[in-house]
């Protein structure tokens, strides 16, 4: 049994009682990485020397210290800026960005909470992708079966938790990039309400959609991590000035009288039968627990993917203009003029998916096409957002699958952008509406791959999302299942 099989509360108690040390936890993390990361490939950069030094300092304070995440090993997605620790966004453009000058706000908050950063996690380049195959370094593999993808773009963040390499991790979610890999890897991943967590220091992909969020083994641990990273931040003008509740206090285990909406569009023909069956079985469990559910409609769901790709790519084309080879990153050699330098640096530094989205966005924003594509997509976004608001007026949560299918094989759809995009059909609408959504494990496929249950709530009502997720977790054992990777796990 791994130390990481304990919950946050259990580990904190063991640390407090000096049954284990922070150094034990940090060493366990690096030993596990040593043992399995050759297969999983979740990490891009390790922070070993610094982490062991920090562990020693924290060990000296054991028993007296009571910070929220004291001594717990965490992995951070590589698009979250870490002072003095290489931050690449899995892009060759930032291959040499070894000395970032500041910490993202969430990283400062982790430092305040006294977690220990183990390293930086692999991802699709600039968070653009659903399989981690767009990492310019190497593709992370699914710990449940390394022939399969871990999902993306936070594939490294989900795989590292599933493989027991870290206790928990941070990811980012623009169209499903936390929830989809959490579903594929059988862990718990939450995309908070837009504005709940500061985006300062998150390398921007699509600013109106991006959110940082926690990936953990259990719902309770997820709530603890969200408590630690949430809150208003003057460095992010879009962060919301709202109170941060104690999310963990919402975990009552009680869902009696809870009203669940199940969108018929989320269980339509594109959804694999065994995914549908796992969701139906979860709904029966909720009935047993005293909740009720009804079928509803989110009529504009089918337009979400097209809307998302126009809007996210448009925002990305503007955000990624900053990568010009002037202030940081890799510059091309021997350019004659500045324009030539910009173009060649970007062409050499970016992979195909990033180029494709920058060009799509540039096209959608360009003169003559703006109204037909960009503005049209913004209007459809309003319709999608209204669908959610209407349903959530009458229901407490919306439940459906996180993804239409379990994980697919590495290389299976990498050359087909539209099929890849369709993977996110059930997660994208949540970002467009800005509401919170979680993925929790709810079954295994016939191939032994995890299936994710998605629970969506009202703006800033993570409490109800967590309470609903936690009640299911308490009543089932899916979160206790572990991949047999490396043979060491129970």
């Amino acid at each position: 049994m791994s130390l990481f099989d304990y919950t946050l509360k259990e580990l904190q108690e063991k640390l407090h009682n000096k049954e284990v040390s922070v150094t034990d936890l940090v060493e366990e993390s690096y030993q596990r990485i040593e043992a399995v990361d050759g297969e999983v490939k979740a990490f891009l950069t390790l922070n070993k020397e610094q982490a062991l030094k920090q562990a020693e300092e924290l060990d000296a304070a054991r028993g007296k210290e009571s910070a929220a995440l004291f001594g717990l090993p965490i992995g951070v997605k590589d698009n979250i800026v870490t002072k003095g620790l290489r931050t690449t966004c899995a892009s060759q453009f930032l291959d040499n960005f070894t000395d970032p000058l500041y910490d993202a706000t969430v990283v400062e908050k982790l430092a305040d909470a006294k977690s220990v950063t183990i390293g930086k996690l692999n991802m699709d380049e600039f968070a653009m992708g659903s399989s981690n195959e767009n990492s310019s370094y190497y593709a992370t593999r699914n710990p449940w079966n390394t022939d399969y993808v871990p999902g993306g773009s936070s594939g490294g963040s989900a795989a590292a938790v599933a493989a027991g390499e870290v206790f928990f991790s941070l990811g980012s979610d623009t169209g499903g990039s936390i929830r989809q890999p959490a579903a594929f890897c059988g862990v718990v991943g939450l995309k908070p309400t837009y504005g709940r967590v500061s985006r300062f220091g998150l390398v921007a992909f699509a600013s109106s959609l991006d959110q940082i969020g926690p990936i953990t083994r259990t719902v309770e641990d997820n709530a603890y991590l969200l408590e630690a990273i949430s809150g208003h931040d003057t460095m992010d003008a879009t962060s919301a000035d709202v109170d941060v509740p104690k999310f963990t206090e919402a975990l009552t285990g009680d869902v009696k009288g809870l009203k669940i909406a199940v969108p018929k569009e989320y269980l339509s023909e594109g959804v694999a039968p065994e995914v549908k069956e796992a969701v139906m079985s979860a709904l029966r469990k909720y009935e047993d627990l005293g909740a009720t559910w009804e079928e509803v409609s989110l009529p504009h769901s089918k337009y979400a993917v097209a809307t998302y790709y126009l809007l996210a790519s448009s925002e990305a084309s503007a955000n990624l203009a900053r990568f010009d080879g002037v202030r940081y990153g890799v510059r091309t050699q021997n350019a004659e003029t500045m324009l030539d330098m910009f173009k060649r640096s970007r062409s050499e530094g970016f992979g195909d998916e990033v180029k494709r989205r920058i060009m799509l966005g540039t096209f959608a924003l360009s003169s003559g096409y703006y109204d037909a594509y960009y503005k049209k997509a913004q209007q459809v976004r309003t319709l999608i957002k209204n669908d959610f608001e209407q349903v959530l007026e009458d229901y407490d949560v919306i439940i459906g699958p996180t993804t239409p299918t379990p994980a697919f094989k590495v290389g299976e759809i990498v050359d087909d952008p539209l099929t890849m995009y369709a993977n996110d059909i059930l997660t994208i609408p949540v970002n467009l509406a800005g509401v919170p959504g979680i993925s929790i494990p709810c079954g295994l496929s016939s191939d032994g791959l995890p299936i994710g249950l998605q629970i969506i709530g009202k703006h800033f009502d993570e409490n109800t999302v967590y309470r609903t997720a936690h009640a299911f977790e308490q009543a089932t054992d899916f979160h206790k299942q572990r991949p047999s990777l490396g043979g060491a796990q129970s």
Partner: protein, 96 residues
């Protein structure tokens, strides 16, 4: 009918400051055409009276006090640059 021509793809690449080869232009023309064709399903919806959503939160102009504060050291910033001289970023000639 194709939605985007190879010439338009080259034009967009130039606007986006990307240098692409002929082969890449062919590949992106096909892929972008597929994606744009797919996106045109949005035209099934009448949105004449729908307000566009730029942002999901009801935020107005967000103001803060205009007070100087300490941020990064110039020397550290320069050290991250591919090329610099006398405390300034150095780039190839701007005029041809």
């Amino acid at each position: 009918m194709s939605r985007i021509s190879k010439e338009e793809v080259k034009h967009v690449a130039n606007l986006a400051r990307l240098a692409i080869s002929e082969e890449e232009a062919d590949m992106f023309t096909k892929q972008l055409d597929d994606i744009i064709t797919y996106a045109e399903q949005l035209n099934e919806l009448d949105t004449a009276d729908v307000e566009p959503t730029t942002h999901v939160l009801d935020l107005k102009n967000v103001m803060r006090k205009d007070e100087p504060r300490k941020w990064l050291e110039k020397e550290d910033v320069m050290n991250n640059a591919p090329d610099h001289k006398d405390g300034q970023f150095k780039v190839p000639s701007i005029l041809e």
